[in-house]
Amino acid sequence: MTKLKDPKDLLLAAIFAAFAAVTFIEGRELEMATARAMGPGYFPKMLALILLLIACALAIRSFFGNLAESKPKPSIRVIASIIGAALLFGILIRPAGLVISIIVSVIVSGFASDGFQWKSSLLTGAVLAAGSSIIFIYLLGQPIPLFGEFF
């Protein structure tokens, strides 16, 4: 019985295969047409096919290739708070405006570092909100809502 040697290759193969599958499903109605006059489906489906082949090769290699060294586990707390902060920024920017979305995302992102403190997070948020409003809205004249549609 062969054992899994490199889980990274297998996971990568799964991601690639998933993208290829989505291409085939989403693109099922796109015409291939001929090589001479290619339709909108030709190029993407060819790429998806190549990607699928690479995924297969990686999957095979993950069982027969060299043994990979294991790496330290990523911290879910860091990833969740950074991704969450960026996502909240996007969700809040239109309805709540720049100032509030900055303060909220700075607080959420604060959970990523060891030793979260309300005081320093609020202070950093306030400074960044003031600074960004001055730079981006007043000096550069970017059309960003200072306070959003809620207000």
Partner: protein
């Protein structure tokens, strides 16, 4: 003399008060970015790109270029004083530069780095001025098959130079091309892969992808690796006054580094990082006593520092002449040009010489500014290092968000950024580099268009790529490169060369 006329035209564009100030702003921002560890030039340019949208095209490009080569200068300062490369191509400088600093020769190391960078920058500017017109002339005669083969060569070069497994890099590149097909098909007007979302019909914005992968990805990565020691060695001011007797051994390495960097920068897929590594290897080979390297050899600072600066500058050549971005930063530059209504490629030098030559001349002016900014003011820059990362990363996060939002004034781009930030982080854990993916996304639509045209020209016969001599040559080079790295012995050597003495936490960032 035609070249002189063109350089004069460039100087007259670059020396206007506005462009001079944009160049200064770019250099100052670049130096800051280079010094701050955890903020590489790619996310910095991506974050600051929206600020340049209000400028005229020449000013915007001058500023972005300044950020890029400014970062090469700044990166060396932290590499020498703190042993923390501010950006990836200074990794090599840290090896001997920091040893020099520990032996009390920090001032000399900084001088060599700054002067070497300046000399290399001037040399590279001249090289660009000489070779760009030749490449432009050649590129103007290219048609669809040549363009397709050229793009393929560019992509394969990025695969060959990617760190780690070749198979993974090919997968990343193909995935990038696939993501590039999202949006309305230009030839037929068909909607493709937009999942019913109107926001996707214009395709995915490359800047949002780059900010996600480099900006957010870098923040997550830095936070996981814990706080690093940022205590800087101090430098007395009198140590910063150049003395030729001490600088003498650096003269030849600077000249060699400038040459190596200028050549490697022009290659598709090349740039600052590759140039620095190559120069270090050459200096070590040529040295009478190679054991001094790693223990504070002045050549180990002079060569790579000159090379990375020259490489950073000449990597503009493929973009400005062939329309081929050779690394993620050039991909962002291409994005900026498109926003300003300029199609990257040979037509710029022909139709808008003042922009083309203005950017080139501004590089020379910028290098002079950087010399003044860096040597006497080094003490001020080092102060930046005392900003704790705890306060820095929320700011990076916010600037990423604002930058991406202002691209199209839409929150959708922020979601794209988040998606690719997460995806990029997963890829990084899985040992797949993002550079080939990014190049694939930007080259995808152009490649498809040229492939279709070429196949139409060849009446459906792929022989069209082989029958045309230029296209055939480009393809042969691409295939050879791929075969060479696929040979196990070479691929092991490549990894050693790219990994040797490289601190684990900075191998990711492009250049």
């Amino acid at each position: 003399m035609e070249l002189l006329d063109q350089l004069l035209l460039g100087l007259s564009t670059a020396a206007t008060l506005n462009n001079f100030l944009y160049c200064l702003a770019g250099c100052v921002l670049g130096t800051m970015v280079g010094i701050l560890p955890g903020v590489g030039p790619a996310p910095a340019i991506a974050m600051l790109l929206p600020m340049t949208f209000t400028l005229d095209p020449a000013g915007a490009l001058i500023m972005i270029a300044g950020i890029y080569y400014g970062a090469q200068y700044g990166g060396s300062t932290t590499a020498i004083l703190v042993n923390l490369p501010g950006e990836s191509s200074s990794v090599v400088t840290a090896i001997d530069g920091h040893q020099m600093a520990r032996q009390g020769k920090a001032g000399l190391a900084l001088q060599v780095a700054a002067i070497g960078s300046f000399v290399a920058g001037c040399f590279a500017t001249l090289m660009i001025a000489l070779f760009a017109p030749i490449l432009t002339a050649a590129a103007l005669r290219f048609s669809a098959p040549e363009y397709f083969s050229l793009m393929l060569l560019g992509l394969i070069a990025s695969i060959v130079l990617a760190h780690g497994s070749v198979m993974r890099a090919i997968g990343m590149c193909v995935l990038g091309l696939l993501i590039g097909t999202i949006g309305i098909d230009l030839t037929t007007g068909t909607h493709r892969f937009d999942f019913g979302m109107i926001d996707l019909s214009d395709g995915i914005d490359i800047v949002a992808v780059a900010v996600g992968m480099f900006g957010l990805g870098e923040v997550i990565h830095e936070l996981q690796n814990g706080p690093s020691n940022r205590k800087a060695n101090s430098v007395p001011f009198r140590d910063l006054i150049p003395r030729f007797s001490l600088l003498r051994p650096a003269v030849k390495p600077i000249i060699r580094g400038s040459l190596i960097g200028s050549v490697l920068g022009i290659l598709p897929g090349g740039g600052a990082l590759l140039s620095a590594f190559a120069s270090y290897a050459v200096e070590k080979k040529l040295a009478k006593d190679p054991t001094r390297f790693g223990k504070g050899a002045i050549e180990g600072v002079a060569g790579p520092e000159s090379a990375n600066n020259a490489g950073a500058q000449t990597s503009f050549v493929p973009l400005l002449t062939l329309g081929l971005p050779s690394n993620p930063i050039m991909a962002l530059m291409a994005g900026a040009m498109i926003v300003h209504g300029l199609q990257p490629g040979p037509a710029i030098a022909r139709d808008q010489p003042e922009i083309f030559w203005g950017v080139i001349a501004s590089m020379w002016i910028g290098n002079l500014m950087l010399l003044v900014l860096n040597l006497p003011l080094v003490g001020i820059w080092v102060k930046l290092l005392s900003v704790p990362y705890k306060m820095l990363y929320p700011a990076i996060l916010i600037f990423c968000g604002i930058g991406v939002f202002t691209l199209n004034n839409s929150a959708f781009d922020i979601y794209v950024m988040v998606f690719f930030g997460l995806l990029g982080y997963v890829f990084r854990i899985l040992g797949a580099e993002p550079a080939p993916l990014l190049l694939g996304i930007i080259l995808g639509p152009i490649m498809e268009e040229n492939l279709r045209r070429a196949m139409l020209m060849g009446r459906g016969d792929p022989m069209v790529f082989i029958e045309r001599p230029i296209s055939a040559t480009l393809l042969i080079i691409a295939i050879l490169a791929l075969i060479i790295v696929a040979i196990p012995a070479v691929s092991r050597k490549k990894d050693v060369a790219l990994q040797e003495e490289r601190p684990a936490n900075h191998q990711f960032e492009e250049s």
